[in-house]
């Protein structure tokens, strides 16, 4: 495993996009220097009664400024408490953890990024890295409202973005745009995150068009570094751990049990 650290950072911003989505910027120089696209950090929720830390994919990490960005869905006890953290507060986290995206990006010519809601967060980091490697990128983002796409504005600077907003096109899947593009354009791989329904649709497209499909495995996690064995992901070869075997996993590797949990 690559080196990781326990570091106490400073909250530079923790802004609510709406009641369900927030964006956190942290000054955390050691983590920012170590982090690579594909990785995540584990944040200690600053309350004595928060017993497990919470894992978050990185939206970006900048070694020069020593900062990281996280976009998170405000959903349960932990993220509600995190949303209360104010500018200037200290926040302890550990990481970065997980495989580098370079392991799967190398050698690819064009990729599609498919995201839903807060799950779109790691796609920005992935797009930045892919462009650095000379890989063509197209993005397909889905959200409940247009407002919920605002944390991902940087993607528009990096690539062409197709969107699907529930308000306007209820019931449509953003993968319809990818399906249309696949008729005239070859993609080597798609990365889908934030919705198992979209993941399933993307895998179906991948099989029809001969591309790979990867997702960021989501799982309830205890530690982040492979010690507690909590974040099991059912695969064809038994259980993988999202923290050390992922979070990027090949959707062809996951087993039926993974899809059975589609609503969770």
């Amino acid at each position: 495993m690559r080196p990781w650290v326990v570091e106490t950072g400073t909250v530079l911003a923790n802004q609510a996009v709406d009641a369900t989505l927030s964006r956190l910027t942290l000054a955390v120089p050691q983590v920012a220097r170590l982090a690579a696209a594909g990785q995540f950090v584990v944040v200690r929720i600053p309350r004595a009664d928060a017993l497990l830390p919470r894992p978050f994919d990185l939206q970006s990490a900048d070694a020069t400024s020593g900062t990281i960005d996280i976009v998170y869905r405000v959903k349960g006890r932990g993220t509600h408490a995190l949303a209360e953290v104010t500018h200037g507060s200290a926040l302890e986290l550990h990481g970065p953890f997980g495989r580098h995206a370079d392991e799967v990006l190398s050698g690819l010519g064009r990729i599609a990024l498919v995201g839903r809601g807060a799950g779109s967060s790691p796609l920005t980091f992935l797009a930045v890295r892919a462009r650095e490697l000379g890989i063509e990128v197209d993005a397909y983002l889905s959200a409940r409202t247009e407002l919920l796409l605002t944390p991902f504005h940087r993607l528009w600077e990096l690539t062409r973005v197709a969107t699907q907003i529930d308000d306007r096109e209820p019931g449509k899947l953003v993968t319809a745009h990818l399906e249309r593009d696949l008729e005239r354009q070859r993609f080597d791989a798609a990365f889908v995150v934030g919705s198992r329904r979209l993941a399933r649709a993307t895998l179906d497209l991948a099989r029809r068009h001969g591309m790979r499909a990867y997702t960021y495995a989501e799982s309830h996690m205890g530690c982040g570094f492979g010690h507690c064995k909590g974040c099991a992901v059912p695969t064809r070869r038994g259980y993988a751990l999202a923290c050390v075997d992922g979070p990027l996993i090949d959707l062809e590797e996951v087993s039926d049990a993974y899809w059975a949990k589609i609503s969770r």
Partner: protein, 308 residues
Amino acid sequence: MGVSMASIELANPLMPASGTYDWKPGDGHPLDPDELGAVVTKSITLGSRGGNPPHRIFEVEGAVLNSIGIPSLGFEAYRASFLRPAERLKTRVFTSIAGFSALEFAELCAKLDDEPRVDAIELNLSCPNIETDSIFATDEAQMGEIVGACRRATSKPLIAKLSPSVPDIAPFVRVAEDAGSDAVCVANTFTGMAIHPSLMEPVLGNTKGGVTGPGLLPIILHQVWVASGASRLPIVASGGVYHGTDALQYLLAGASAVQVGTASFREPLALRRIQAELKEALRAAGLVSVRQAIGRAHPERRATTGHA
């Protein structure tokens, strides 16, 4: 900070609870195993096991539920991936083992008996998350049979890890002692569950899991207290330790060593902090050593260990 337990010298009394610190060389963990009184491994089994379906871990108000189900690479892989690299560690190595019968436990003990790097064997008689009809350490006869079989299979020090899910832990401590265990660990997790209110089904993939967290401290502290009065076996305490004063309470109740589990998930350096806090707590109490603290609050323990 040194302490002696079942003829094992520990540099300090603090160690991880089994399954919460799975050291491997090069895993990047900033906590050096040699800072610990002992490395306690995740339970190993004879053959390989995949573990339980997700969800395996879940936080509820005031507690953490886990149902990992002892994923294990099996004994041979454990020897290659852990015991060989562990040869360069200076700290003690406690290997936790789990089996499905007295025979399996004994076979693992016999294999570990040949391993010089293993300083003690912790018998996981109390996992609530595996496919046995009952938890071994809630049945005196069954537990006695397993501990006895292990005793005949190895001369290594044995630590029987007991279940807290019993009305009175004292008879189980005596069973462990009579069957030849050198120490007891008090205790494993309680059994519990959570139900998802809108999905209307159990959250944990295995339905039930072990309950851990800070709320266990007063309950397990009392069980350590009872165990202290029940026998002279050294006690390793485990349950709800987050602070140095928590560890000190366990020592005062009669424990010789203290394990830290769930606290290390949100705070990977918790064992280092708790060790520093324990040192300070001992000083504040006017004690010059860990040995002086052991059993000091317990009238019967004090009498048997010769503390003034």
